[in-house]
Symmetry: C2
Subunit: 157 residues, 2 copies
Amino acid sequence: MSAAAPAPFVPLPSADPACPLCREHTGVPVWQDADWRVIRAEDADFPAFYRVIARAHVGEFSALPAAQRARCMALVCAVERVLLERLAPRKINLAALGNMVPHLHWHVIARFAWDSHFPQAVWGPRQREVEGGARARLGIDLRALDAAVATALSQCP
Amino acid sequence: MSAAAPAPFVPLPSADPACPLCREHTGVPVWQDADWRVIRAEDADFPAFYRVIARAHVGEFSALPAAQRARCMALVCAVERVLLERLAPRKINLAALGNMVPHLHWHVIARFAWDSHFPQAVWGPRQREVEGGARARLGIDLRALDAAVATALSQCP
């Protein structure tokens, strides 16, 4: 089963005009529903880097009602599992920081021993150059990966 | 209601002898139950930095059964709420990375506009020195904060 391409990004009526995650479409759109959208970040160093983004402008994870928190982590978990199954990474990194953009978004990042920053965080100091670039080194069809992620999200309870 | 001090750290029979989070006690013990333990990290730059650590040696969040994932995030959320209520931080950072120690542990970190790295991640480049140190700047009794965290965890569903 394949997932339909997500609808074009349309800000919610409640969008915060000062918040880029409320107003702007960035990254490759992968999937969305009424409350969440998932994009691929298009990071040159980390090709398998997705974000699970709240549609509404909420700052902290604990501000969500319990059912929304459960839904959010089910989506994060679904993305994680696709990355584990398809890419066999060394590690998955999960993070909700929001220091620069305090609108809830979860980073889900496949990490490899060869990547530019491993074992440091992606926000830490670069450890090495990756010859030919990370996307070539990963050597997979990112559109097919996006489709697998979208399918998993569509099937997520 | 106050929470009892956690029992001394005892590795599980299933502990991985190569894993420091299975074998070693680090940080200030705050709370534990059969499946999880919570410590304060004693980081000089980030005094209100807690970790929610799986007792068992599990690598990825998605490897946990659903009920354990829910319990884990309920604990993370409980710590977050205490930090928000008691410290009014600029932001809470949540992360499960595990690149160096692939044993599931969630970082829960109160961030402030004045802290040494804000708005960068705690793993990113230092932005400034904090005169007198972060603990003095925060100006709270960390043992009382630990007790509030432990109480919230004890009441967590």
